[in-house]
């Protein structure tokens, strides 16, 4: 869920012709408007998700130009509240009353369909939470939005019902048009003539609900470097270059309890995460280094890169990986990524590996076959052994001291050919294949992407065919051939 600051929420309301108090937004770092609005005005620092702004001094009344200029200067500069996106300079209005309105979702249950809920009170303003009894709670359909007349009928006897009904109709339209999670206006000013206008407002939204044309309006505040770790940004870059499927990590910001085993995890999907949480949630002797999710049909190239990031986490003592059951997440391919990541990482970790799902047996067989050649111990599990049992092996497998090795070198120089998505550089070493027939890597490709050019004695991509980034060609080349085909998977540069 993301929060939209007041000045942007005003744009949404304005697009549905909901009346607003007049105001000018001054962005941080931008030129001040000339002339400045005439006092009396209110200065309101614009910080997404901020509440109780008045109490923090982020809303100030200015009765003179001097107050306005100095207030703007202070609120536009970084302060204890961080850096505001800017300041809304809003006109002061004479109100004879203050109302409150909010829209939210009711997710429904077995007896009730999901629907929107309008909360409305004629006793708005600060401290509205304490006057919950005064709230009208009006459910409404998101499929057929209520008209002003519908709302008037539901409100019952309220003074100024016509104006309220029309106002709320636009308010609900705004909520539905932008698929907001929450839209709140508090206060809604009641003017002498009985008309209403929004004095303050805020919204919460789902990123996935933002339409293409509204992307800029809903753009969240830029993520600062401090918000994400180096490895998290690395994985972000991996996703940019190879968007298919989920590749996610988030490092644990909490300090590890003294003496706890520090487990780096590579889990699969929401179910995989839940299995690990159920296993370790109450255990003080296990510290999970990171959240992770590799699922949704990602390539083995991406699995490899995410794993490389996971293996880089300082202070980790052991890697725990569980596969899932997704068919297009072939576990043989995942195993290929694990093998490659462990042998090419300068900081490999002892690993507890449970493959689960399509070709889980092949995945396990591959790892068991190559295990003696790896620089760290690995232990595989049958798919019916879940994290609740795997965790018992953490202490025995964890390394006491971080292992640092000189990893298997990746090929250098210009590749024989390159695949853009998923990104990988393919190297065919003709000097390692002196037979006339095609090397085994060609037949290993499940997508018939590789072709043996017998005349040129080289392996080439087939025009129109697609590489799915499964690593099977390299696996077979190393195990059944002479290492004639290798794939270089560079990790992205991160500032």
């Amino acid at each position: 869920m993301s929060a939209l600051p007041e000045y942007k929420t005003r744009v949404l309301l304005d697009n549905e012709k909901v009346p607003l108090v007049e105001g000018v937004f001054v962005a941080a770092g931008a030129e001040l408007p000339d002339p400045l609005p005439e006092p009396p005005v209110y200065l309101k620092a614009q910080i997404p998700g901020a509440t109780s702004r008045a109490a923090q001094g982020l809303v100030r009344r200015c009765d003179s130009k001097e107050q306005l200029e100095s207030g703007l200067k202070q609120l536009l500069a970084p302060g204890s509240w961080g850096q505001a996106e800017g300041v809304l300079v809003a006109n002061s209005v004479n109100m004879k009353g203050e109302y409150y309105a909010a829209c939210m979702l009711d997710f429904g249950n077995a007896d009730e369909l999901p629907h929107g809920v309008l909360l409305f009170s004629t006793e708005g303003g600060s401290g509205v939470e304490e006057r919950a009894a005064s709230l009208h709670k009006i459910p409404f359909s998101l499929l057929n939005l209520p008209s002003a007349d519908d709302l008037i009928a539901k409100l019952g006897k309220v003074a100024g019902a016509q104006a309220i009904g029309k106002f709320l109709e636009g308010f609900i339209k705004t909520y539905a048009r932008y698929k907001l999670i929450v839209l709140e206006a508090n206060p809604i000013g009641v003017l002498e003539d009985g008309s209403l206008l929004v004095v303050d407002c805020r919204a919460e939204f789902e990123k996935q609900a933002v339409g293409k044309k509204d992307t800029e309006l809903f753009a969240a505040a830029p993520v600062t470097k401090e918000d994400k770790t180096h490895l998290e940004r690395l994985v972000d870059k991996v996703n940019e270059a190879d968007p298919a499927g989920t590749g996610f990590i988030r490092e644990n910001r909490e300090p590890a309890p003294e003496g706890a085993w520090r487990v780096a995890t590579n889990l699969c999907g929401g179910g995989g995460k839940m299995l690990w949480e159920m296993t370790t949630g109450a255990r003080k002797d296990i510290y999970t280094m990171n959240e992770s999710d590799t699922s949704g049909g990602l390539s083995a190239f991406k699995s490899y890169r995410v794993l490389r990031a996971i293996l880089e986490m300082e202070d980790s003592q052991v890697l725990l990986l569980t596969g899932s059951g997704m068919g297009f997440q072939n576990q043989h391919y995942v195993a290929a990524a694990v093998w490659k990541a462990i042998r090419e990482s300068p900081t490999p970790l002892p690993a507890l590996l449970r493959f689960g799902g399509t070709d889980e047996d092949k995945g396990r067989e591959l790892i068991e076959k190559v295990a003696p050649s790896l620089p760290v111990p690995v232990k595989t599990y049958m798919p019916h052994v879940f994290p609740n049992a795997m965790v018992d092996d953490v202490a025995a497998m964890a390394t006491k001291q971080r292992i640092k090795v000189t990893p298997e070198p990746q090929p250098t120089g210009e590749p024989s050919f390159r695949v853009d998505v998923p990104p990988g550089d393919f190297f065919f070493f003709a000097d390692k294949w002196d037979k006339d027939e095609a090397p085994p890597c060609v037949g290993a490709c499940p997508n018939n992407f590789l072709f043996w050019n017998a005349e040129q004695r080289t392996v080439e991509p087939v025009e129109g065919a697609r590489c799915i980034g499964c690593l099977m060609c390299e696996v077979v080349s190393l195990l059944e051939g002479n290492g004639e085909l290798r794939i270089r998977l560079d990790l992205p540069e991160v500032d």
Partner: protein, 322 residues
């Protein structure tokens, strides 16, 4: 096939499917799998691609066109981007299709709320969004369960367990493991050994209700279908925090609507309220959506709740007297 779970879920005895988005990569891959698993796919549709053929099936520009040319169509599976799901699903419902599987992840919550209301008005049912689909061992599959036909045929075998899950991975796991001879698991005496012999319980159907907060087919809808399904002797489910689905299931047991034994692997013992989860639907918004509350109401009505996945299989064996 006539006695598949769709008969009890939506009254469809012989599913005849339209694949929406069949021309796309995922649509084609999944269509191949579905057809290999016996699903009767009659046609596909993709806006602007009408007139083409994919996997020897005609492609139409819309569900309406497809139904006009193939009036026997009665259900759809959709491989369309999240932002297009609402429109595509409503179009399929308008075309008269009574059941749809919405696979996409990331559908806006508002769109899900609108779809629920629209589907009810149209008398339609849908599975998802954010689901790997469903598999019925009488001979059809919608979605991606099993991955490859070879794997799916090997791992999902006819039997008496009805599987419901809010997680894609766990729906496949709970289904497949009930079909493995000599599956080892935790025994009552604390040892770990075969829960059953060569004769495994098998599955009637696997229904992944999806990880979103407003699924079309809920756990209780699925459980009511399994209650009517003669093949199903025990219902096994993966539930978690968020939504009231498990509580609704408990209420249905209490009221006598569901009498078959139910085993639930409930996740989320350590999930904190208000924190976004990998499954959007798992976020706790109030007390009734917590692990503790759900566990209590389910156990009160006799539903077996377990904390680890392998305990599910042990309980199945116990219930079936294996």
């Amino acid at each position: 096939m006539k006695n598949g779970i769709l008969k009890h879920l939506v009254g469809i005895e012989e599913p005849k499917a339209l694949v929406v988005g069949m021309t796309g990569k995922q649509g084609q891959t999944s269509s191949k799998l579905m057809m290999k698993m016996g699903t009767n796919v009659l046609a596909g549709c993709t806006p602007g691609k009408g007139g083409q053929e994919v996997l020897d099936k005609p492609i139409y520009n819309s569900a309406k066109e497809a139904v006009a040319a193939n009036p026997e169509l009665n259900c759809a599976v959709m491989y369309v981007p999240a932002a297009a799901v609402k429109r595509a699903a409503m179009e399929a419902m308008d075309a008269g299709l009574k059941f749809a599987v919405l696979t996409a992840d990331g559908v806006a919550t508002h769109d899900e709320a609108v779809l629920k209301e629209y589907a009810k008005a149209k008398g339609c049912t849908y599975l998802g969004p954010n689901t790997v689909g469903m598999l019925d061992t009488s001979g059809y599959l919608f979605g991606m369960i099993g991955g490859s036909a070879t794997w799916a045929r090997k791992n999902y075998l006819p039997g008496c367990v009805g599987v419901i899950s809010r997680s894609g991975g766990l729906s496949q796991l709970l289904g497949a493991f009930h079909c493995r001879p000599n599956l080892p698991g935790p025994q009552e005496d604390g040892s770990f050994g075969p829960l059953w012999g060569e004769q495994y319980p098998g599955v009637s159907a696997v229904l992944c209700t999806g990880g979103d907060p407003m699924p079309g087919v809920t756990m209780i809808d699925a459980a009511l279908a399994f209650q009517k399904d003669e093949r199903t002797k025990v219902i096994v489910a993966y539930g978690e925090t968020g939504t009231t689905q498990e509580n609704d299931l408990a209420a249905a047991v209490k009221s006598g609507q569901i009498t078959k034994p139910i085993i639930v692997f409930l996740g989320g013992m350590f999930t904190k309220a208000g924190v976004a989860q990998s499954h959007a639907g798992a976020m706790i918004r109030n007390e009734e959506e917590t692990y503790t509350y759900k566990r209590k109401v389910m156990e009160e009505v006799g539903i077996t709740v377990v904390e680890r996945p392998d305990a599910v299989f042990a309980q199945t064996a116990k219930v079936l007297g294996m």
